[in-house]
C-alpha cells in the first residue's frame, strides 16, 4: 500500500534527517515492506517563495521599511524557500494508486506544514490549527472548502475531490498559502532536509517517475526510476532551479 511504503520510507530515511515528521505521522502503519529512493535536490536556493517575494514589493505596502543587513552575505539574502516544508518530492507509479489515509496538515506560524503536498484524489487532509488564534482557511475556487473558523487546536477536514492543483488560503492570514496537487498515480512523497537530501519510499519494485513540486508546480526535471530494491540517485541530484541570469541578490 502507498501509505505503508511512504511511512517505511520516512522511517528508513531517519539518518537523512528528513523533515517530513508530520507527514510520517500521517502515514503511520508498520506492516509492509517498501523500496527506498534516495536522492538529493540542488538549485533550490534559486527558487523563490512567491508569498515572500510578493511581500517585498513596495507596492504591496507590506512594510514601512525593509533594509538588508550588510553583514549577511548577498547569496543568503534571497527569499529561497524552506525546502523541508515547501519542496515536495513525489514518486509516481505507472498505475493508479489507492486513496491514502488522512494526512495531518499543521496550520501555524504564517504557513502550513507542508506548504506543498501531492496526494491521490479523495485523500482526506486534516488541517490542525496550532496557533493560539483562529484561522479561516478556504480553497480558492472550490465550493466544498469555503472559509470558516478553525479555532486554536481545532481540526478541519477536507478531501481532495479530483486530480489537479488546489490552492488553500487563509482569510485571517494573507501570507498563508498552501498548494495541494492531486494525482491518482502518486506512489510516495518526501521532503528534503535543509541540505537537499531526501528519501522516499514506494511500494515494491517497478518503474516510477520522481518529480519535485514547489508552490503547486513542478520544478526540475522528471526523473524516471526503475526500482529494484533501494535506489540511490545521489550521483544525479535533481536540479530544481537554475540561477537567475543577471539577477542580484536582494
Amino acid at each position: 500500500m502507498l501509505r505503508e511504503s511512504v511511512r517505511v520510507g520516512v522511517r528508513r530515511a531517519a539518518p537523512w534527517a528528513l523533515a517530513a515528521t508530520t507527514i510520517a505521522l500521517a502515514f503511520a502503519s508498520a506492516d509492509a515492506e517498501a523500496a527506498r529512493i534516495k536522492g538529493s535536490v540542488v538549485g533550490y536556493q534559486n527558487l523563490l517563495n512567491p508569498v515572500w517575494e510578493e511581500s517585498k514589493d513596495p507596492d504591496r505596502h507590506a512594510y514601512s521599511f525593509r533594509e538588508p543587513v550588510p553583514t549577511v552575505r548577498g547569496e543568503f539574502r534571497r527569499l529561497f524557500p524552506h525546502i523541508p516544508k515547501e519542496l515536495c518530492i513525489a514518486a509516481f507509479a505507472a498505475e493508479k494508486q489507492p486513496v491514502q489515509k488522512p494526512i495531518l496538515i499543521r496550520v501555524g506560524g504564517g504557513r502550513t506544514t507542508p506548504v506543498t503536498i501531492v496526494v491521490t484524489p479523495g485523500t482526506e487532509l486534516q488541517f490542525q490549527n496550532t496557533d493560539p488564534f483562529p484561522h479561516r482557511l478556504y480553497a480558492v475556487g472550490v465550493g466544498t472548502f469555503t472559509a470558516s473558523d478553525t479555532v486554536k487546536g481545532g481540526v478541519r477536514s477536507w478531501s481532495v475531490p479530483a486530480a489537479g492543483t488546489y490552492e488553500v488560503r487563509d482569510e485571517a492570514a494573507p501570507s498563508l498559502r498552501m498548494w495541494i496537487v492531486g494525482d491518482p498515480t502518486l506512489a510516495g512523497i518526501a521532503y528534503p532536509s535543509m541540505k537537499g537530501e531526501f528519501a522516499l519510499g514506494v511500494e515494491g519494485d517497478g518503474d516510477y517517475r520522481v518529480q519535485a513540486f514547489f508552490a503547486g508546480k513542478k520544478v526540475g526535471p522528471e526523473i524516471p526510476v526503475k526500482v529494484k530494491g533501494d535506489v540511490d540517485l545521489a550521483k544525479t541530484p535533481i536540479k530544481v532551479a537554475d540561477p537567475p541570469k543577471g539577477e542580484k541578490a536582494n
Binding site: Y63, S64, G109, P132
Partner: protein
C-alpha cells in the same frame, strides 16, 4: 427731524450690513474651519504614519542588543542545526538571553513580546506571549517579516493575530559566512496604551481598528476619544474610497457635525486585512451668526477690542440721543414753554419764528385759531348745542318752537321723538364763565363768522310782565323768573333786531315754554337747573339751553 430720521436709516443700514458681514464671516469661518480641519487631519495622518515608521525603526535598533547577547546566536545556531525536537537546554539558554536583554531596554521602548526564531521558523524561546506558553511546535517562520529576517533583512510589519501587533524583526548571525542562525522578532501590542503614547507624542486623536472594530484609541486632552467609536459604522463605507484602497489614506470623512476623520491603512499584513488607524478632529461649524458667541471661548472674547466696541456703541447712542434732543425734546420743550406763557397770558400769541418745522406750522395754526376766536368776540369755549346734547325735543317744549302766531318761519317742524343715538350722552360739564363783561352769565355758543357779524351788540329793551307764578318755591323761583325775564327781554330785543314780529309774544308764554323745556332737561339729564341764552340762528332769534349740574 432729518438728522434723526437719517440716523435711523443709517442705523438700519449699519445693522443690516453688520448682519450681512456676520453671515459672510460665518461662511468664511466654516469654510476655513473645514479647510483647516482637512489640512489638520491630513497632517495628523502623516504624523501618525511617520510615528509608526519611526517607532518601528527605533525598536528595531533595540533588537541589535539581542543579537549581541552571546547565548542567543549560539542557541539559535544550535536549534537551526537540529531538525528534530529542540532540547530544553537550547531553549533555556535562549530564554535567559532574551530575559537579560529585555530587562535593559527602556520601558518606553520595550517590547510587549520578543521571539527568538531559528532557521526552521520555530520559536525557540519567547517573552511576553503567554498564549503560546507550553506550545513546543509554536512557530512564526511563514510570516514574511520573519522570513525576511531569516534571509538577512530588517523590516517591520503589522500583524493581525489574536490582537493587533506592530512587529520588527532582524537576523541573528552566529557564523558570518553562513546563513543567519535565526531571527529576533519584537512585537508591540497596539492597545490603548500604545495609542495614548502615540497621541501624547503627536497630539493627534487616533484610533486603531481591525476586523471592523475599534481596538485602541488615544486622544489629547479636550477630545472625547469615545467619539472615535463612531467610526465603526463608517469603516465598511471607507473601504469603497478609492484613495483609501490605493494610497492607503482616505479623504476627509464627516462622521457627524462635530467630528471629521481621515483613515489610514496600516502597513504590513494588516493592510490586506482591512486594519488601520483613524485620526479625528472636532470642528464646530457656526450655524448662525449668534452661534459665534457660543463658539467663542474666553480667549476669543479677550481678543475682542472691547474699548472700541463700547466706544462705538456709546457714540451711536450719543448721536441718537443728541439728534433726538435737538429735533424733538428741545423744540417740544420750547413749544411747551411758549404755550405755557400763552396760557398765562404773558403773550397774546405764539411766535412761529421761534419754532422750527412742524412746530412752526402748529404755532401758526394756533395763532390763526386764536385770531378767529378773538374775532368772534373773545367768547369762551362754545357751550353744548341743545340739539346736539338732547337731540330733537318734542315740538312744544323745543326752544325753536317759540313760534307764535304769524312767526311760522322760525319754528321748525316738530319731531315725534328723541333719537336713540344720543339719549344718554353725557352732558359736557358746565363751562366756566370766561365771557367778557356784560355777559349775564348764561353760557352762549361761539357761532361762525356770519353769526358773529349778526350778533347784537346790546340787549334789547326789556318787555315788562309779571313774574311767573309757576315757580314752586320762594326766593329760588324769584331768581329763576328774574333770570328768565332777562332772557325774555334779550330774546325779544333780538327778535326785533332780526325783524321778527313781537305780536303775542308775552312773557307768560315764553316762561311756560322755558319751564317745559327746563323740566324736560332736568328730568332727562338729572341736572339741577338750566340756563338759557339767546343767539341768532339763520337770521332769527333762537334760544340755547345749558344744563348746569351744581
Amino acid at each position: 427731524m432729518l438728522l434723526s430720521r437719517f440716523w435711523y436709516v443709517i442705523l438700519g443700514l449699519v445693522t443690516g450690513a453688520l448682519v450681512f458681514v456676520l453671515y459672510i464671516s460665518m461662511s468664511m469661518y466654516n469654510r476655513q474651519v473645514s479647510r483647516a480641519m482637512a489640512e489638520g487631519l491630513s497632517s495628523d495622518s502623516q504624523v501618525v504614519s511617520w510615528y509608526l515608521k519611526n517607532d518601528a525603526r527605533e525598536r528595531s535598533a533595540h533588537l541589535i542588543s539581542f543579537t549581541l547577547e552571546a547565548s542567543i546566536p549560539k542557541g539559535l545556531a544550535d536549534a537551526s542545526a537540529t531538525e528534530g525536537k529542540l532540547t530544553d537546554k537550547i531553549r533555556q539558554s535562549v530564554q535567559e538571553g532574551l530575559t537579560k536583554v529585555a530587562a535593559k531596554i527602556p520601558k518606553d521602548q520595550a517590547f510587549d513580546a520578543v521571539f527568538a526564531v531559528d532557521q526552521h521558523g520555530r520559536v525557540v524561546a519567547h517573552l511576553g506571549y503567554e498564549q503560546a506558553s507550553g506550545m513546543e511546535d509554536f512557530e512564526l517562520g511563514g510570516y514574511p517579516v520573519v522570513a525576511d529576517a531569516l534571509h538577512g533583512f530588517v523590516r517591520d510589519d503589522t500583524l493581525v493575530l489574536d490582537r493587533l501587533y506592530r512587529v520588527v524583526a532582524r537576523p541573528v548571525e552566529y557564523d558570518l559566512g553562513s546563513l543567519p542562525a535565526g531571527a529576533i522578532v519584537g512585537a508591540r501590542i497596539i492597545d490603548d496604551r500604545f495609542a495614548r503614547d502615540l497621541s501624547t507624542r503627536t497630539g493627534a486623536a487616533v484610533a486603531f481598528y481591525a476586523g471592523g472594530q475599534r481596538v485602541a484609541s488615544g486622544a489629547p486632552e479636550g477630545f472625547d476619544r469615545s467619539q472615535l467609536d463612531m467610526i465603526v459604522n463608517d469603516i465598511k463605507a471607507v473601504e469603497a474610497d478609492p484613495d483609501y484602497k490605493t494610497k492607503g489614506r482616505s479623504a476627509v470623512r464627516v462622521i457627524n457635525a462635530a467630528l471629521s476623520v481621515v483613515y489610514g491603512r496600516l502597513p504590513g499584513e494588516a493592510w490586506d486585512l482591512g486594519a488601520g488607524f483613524v485620526v479625528g478632529r472636532n470642528a464646530i461649524p457656526v450655524a448662525n451668526p449668534l452661534a459665534f458667541f457660543a463658539a467663542a471661548d474666553d480667549k476669543d472674547k479677550s481678543g475682542a477690542k472691547i474699548p472700541i466696541v463700547v466706544g462705538i456703541a456709546i457714540l451711536a447712542m450719543g448721536l441718537g440721543l443728541l439728534f433726538s434732543f435737538i429735533e424733538y425734546t428741545k423744540p417740544l420743550s420750547l413749544f411747551r414753554d411758549e404755550a405755557h406763557r400763552l396760557a398765562k397770558g404773558q403773550i397774546d400769541q405764539l411766535q412761529p419764528s421761534k419754532f422750527r418745522g412742524l412746530y412752526r406750522t402748529i404755532a401758526s395754526d394756533l395763532n390763526d385759531g386764536i385770531d378767529v376766536a378773538a374775532g368772534k368776540g373773545g367768547g369762551t369755549r362754545r357751550a353744548a348745542d341743545l340739539s346736539q346734547v338732547l337731540g330733537d325735543l318734542p315740538a312744544e317744549p323745543q326752544m325753536s318752537a317759540f313760534s307764535f302766531p304769524g312767526d311760522t318761519g322760525a319754528s321748525p317742524k316738530p319731531k315725534p321723538s328723541v333719537p336713540k343715538s344720543v339719549p344718554n350722552a353725557p352732558l359736557p360739564s358746565a363751562p366756566r364763565a370766561t365771557a367778557p363783561s356784560g355777559d349775564d352769565g348764561v353760557v352762549s355758543s361761539v357761532g361762525d363768522a356770519t353769526q358773529k357779524e349778526r350778533r347784537l351788540p346790546a340787549p334789547p329793551p326789556r318787555v315788562g310782565g309779571p313774574p311767573s307764578p309757576s315757580s314752586p318755591s320762594g326766593s329760588g323761583d324769584d331768581a329763576q323768573i328774574a333770570e328768565w325775564k332777562a332772557v325774555y327781554e334779550e330774546f325779544a330785543a333780538t327778535k326785533q333786531q332780526c325783524g321778527e314780529s313781537l305780536d303775542g309774544f308775552t312773557f307768560e308764554k315764553f316762561q311756560n315754554t322755558l319751564k317745559k323745556n327746563r323740566d324736560a332737561i332736568v328730568e332727562r339729564h338729572g341736572v339741577k337747573r338750566v340756563k338759557f341764552s339767546v343767539y341768532v340762528k339763520d337770521g332769527k332769534a333762537a334760544l340755547k339751553a345749558s344744563p348746569i349740574k351744581d
